[in-house]
């Protein structure tokens, strides 16, 4: 179990050291101490999410009743940082005390693996190969939809809590999620309902009502699954990989959202997060260009290109037994984490303008 120093916890929670100490004393949260040296406090992730929830109640900056909102991380081009943004937003909103559920919609299961699960292993394989059963993925969102008359798997059997019940919840994905694409394509021919499967799932799943934020981590490209994810959300967060911005993809996404808004009388927003910023002249010019092309849409906290980002996606140990972790959790002191915290604050402020999020 990874431990965090007080300084790291303070960075991750975006709160002063004093506020954290005060709330953990008030709440009687037991913080472990190192067995050697100065016996420094060792905060677990569970402690951090607990403190985050208590801080929200204590500071009363973030309103106690946030209406439920959904965001979808999507851009047609792969490798732009969808999963990076989605997993870190899930973690960071949870540290702010916002009840968050992240839904992995990529059949490659990248968000699921980044949150510590193994999408290639189900409980049968785990038993046969003597792998930890709690990291196996048996069900995905498709199992809860009851498509084509198949029995619905209950929410409790599907949901995972990668960082304990106080952290974000996860609806994982695995390769079999790809099958819902064919089903949705057939259903789309008969009814508009196919585009609303995730929207309806969000509205009609009682266990989901307690969550204030649902984050869909969509796969790349355009498909019926992606369309359903876009139709379900209130805001699309589109990471723009600055090494080669997919301007065509962005344009396509923006016009697709316009079409959905027109059809559904909704007001889904698009926000662009520049990712992988380097300070070459060309990269700066590109960044300036998208900011001019999409006024009001580019979140002004570009994520710097960091060698640590790919590290968060790869196992350190050779036998791949160490769990992967979202960037912010792995590197709480990095300036990239600070950018992600600023992005989360900005998005929170846009989703809930009166919600009391830091501007």
């Amino acid at each position: 179990m990874k431990h965090y120093s007080l300084n790291q916890a303070s960075k991750l929670l975006n709160q002063s050291v004093r506020a954290i100490q005060a709330v953990s004393e008030e709440g009687g949260i037991e913080i472990a101490r190192a067995s050697t040296g100065q016996r420094a406090r060792q905060y677990t992730l569970d402690n951090i999410f607990d403190i985050g929830a208590r801080l929200r109640g204590r500071n009363k900056k973030i309103s106690a009743n946030l209406p439920r909102r959904a965001i979808t991380c999507h851009i047609p081009r792969g490798g732009s940082g969808k999963t990076l943004i989605a997993t870190n937003l899930a973690v960071l909103f949870a540290t702010m005390g916002v009840k968050t559920c992240i839904v992995d919609l990529d059949w490659q299961g990248s968000a699921s693996s980044l949150l510590g699960y193994d999408p290639d292993v189900d409980s049968t394989i785990a038993a046969a190969r003597n792998l930890p059963a709690d990291k196996a993925v048996d069900f995905h969102i498709g199992h809860m939809l009851g498509l084509q008359g198949s029995p619905k798997v209950p929410f409790d059997k599907v949901v995972k809590y990668p960082f304990g019940p106080k952290g974000p919840a996860l609806i994982p994905a695995d390769v079999t999620l790809n099958q819902i694409e064919a089903t949705l394509t057939v259903e789309r021919l008969n009814s508009d309902r196919a585009d609303l499967v995730f929207f309806d799932w969000m509205r009609n799943t009682p266990e989901l009502q307690q969550y204030e934020l649902v984050i869909f981590d969509s796969g790349p490209g355009f498909s019926r699954t992606v369309n359903a994810a876009l139709s379900a959300c209130d805001m699309v967060v589109a990471p723009a990989g600055l090494e080669s911005i997919s301007e065509k993809g962005l344009r396509m996404l923006v016009s697709q959202i316009d079409a959905i808004n027109e059809r559904q009388k909704s007001n889904i927003q698009v926000r662009i997060v520049p990712n992988g910023m380097v300070t070459t002249k060309r990269a700066l010019q590109e960044l300036a260009a998208i900011s001019i092309s999409y006024p009001g849409l580019v979140i002004p906290f570009p994520i710097r290109r960091s060698e640590d980002v790919p590290k968060a996606y790869t196992h350190e140990s050779e036998d791949r037994t160490d769990p992967l972790q979202p960037f912010a959790i792995k590197y709480p002191l990095s300036d990239v984490t600070q950018s992600l915290i600023n992005i989360a604050g900005t998005i929170g402020n846009e989703l809930w303008p009166e919600g009391g999020f830091a501007k």
Binding site: D200, D234, K265, Q269, K281, S291, E350, P353
Partner: protein
């Protein structure tokens, strides 16, 4: 500070400036979106039967005349059953506004049906107006003037001419040609309301030209158009060339003989209205006077009130 740092700062400032825009429309709440989606899907999924008495004409309806024989023919075809449903939307008072199917509604009434098949849609005021007017565009029996009224209505609601063209599927130049009806003076427009089918939009420029030089001509034209509406449908005496001919040849005479108002209100010594007299021309030189009075007058009183006023106002038109 290095040049590079300057560049980075400049881009950061640009990002902040471009992001800081007034907030867009607020996010639509999930429940509200769900309600809209349900209604939209219900619309696609099937029809509902709605009682005829709950169906109101749309206030956006640009059509003024529903020829009786046209409705009869439609009713005949509907006798075996309703082929296509009416398109309606729910109003706040629980009734429904017809967006498409005003003629079918009338035919159903004629057939003494109690209810008709409808699809219920959810739409905004502008979309409702667009639906009504676009639906009329496809009907043959709608006159140019009625179409022009529809376009003008959409423009009044905030659409551009190009938008109107796209919405109703008509070339933009035809839209602007038809809209020239509204350059005609008010009396003619009022007469067209009664007899919208009497002229195509192609006559508008010629009519404008004919009445441009004298004021009386507009009144004469309005009168002729109104009279043609009262005449029987098979009356072939009406034609635009004839009217234009009359206006141009009689222009001088018309100018000399200023046309008198068709309504006269007679007041007492305290300047209070006691009588209204309406003058209807039955044919050339023969008039019918309709006297509208709030209470009964004796013959003597009437004569006393009327004699002088009529002579003053219409003496030259009426003769003795």
């Amino acid at each position: 500070m290095s040049k590079k740092a300057d560049q980075i700062d400049a881009v950061r400032a640009l990002l902040a400036a471009n992001y800081a825009r007034p907030p867009a429309k607020p996010i639509v709440d999930m429940d509200e979106r769900g309600r809209i989606a349900e209604a939209q899907i219900a619309r696609k999924d099937g029809m509902v039967k709605i009682a005829l008495e709950l169906l109101d004409d749309s206030p956006h309806q640009n059509r003024v005349i529903y020829p009786e024989d046209e409705i009869d023919t439609l009713a005949d075809t509907m006798r075996t059953g309703q082929l296509s449903p009416l398109r309606v939307r729910q109003k706040d008072n629980g009734c429904f506004e017809v967006l498409a199917g005003h003629r079918r509604k009338r035919a159903a009434k004629k057939l003494q049906w109690l209810e008709v098949d409808c699809v219920v849609v959810v739409c905004t005021e502008l979309e409702a107006a667009r639906d009504v007017i676009a639906d009329n565009e496809s009907h043959k029996g709608v006159s140019d003037f009625e179409r022009a009224k529809g376009y003008q209505h959409l423009i009044d609601l905030g659409m551009s001419q190009a938008d109107v063209g796209r919405a109703v599927g008509v070339d933009r130049s035809l839209i602007s040609h038809r809209l020239r009806f509204f350059a005609l003076p008010a009396p003619i427009l009022a007469a067209l309301e009664l007899n919208p089918a009497c002229m195509s939009h192609r006559w508008v420029p010629k009519l404008l030209e004919a009445i441009a030089s004298n004021e009386g001509a507009a009144q004469v034209a309005a009168k002729r158009i109104e009279d043609a509406a009262c005449a029987a449908a098979d009356d072939s005496s009406w034609s635009m060339p004839a009217l234009l001919n009359e206006l141009t040849t009689k222009a001088v005479a018309a100018k000399a003989q200023t046309v008198k108002p068709v309504k006269l209100s007679i007041t007492n010594a305290e300047n209070k209205e006691i009588l209204t007299v309406q003058r209807d021309q039955k044919r050339q030189g023969v008039f019918e006077l309709r006297i509208i009075a709030p209470h009964r007058f004796s013959q003597d009183e009437l004569e006393q009130h009327l004699a002088q006023s009529l002579k003053d106002a219409w003496g030259d038109v009426l003769g003795d």
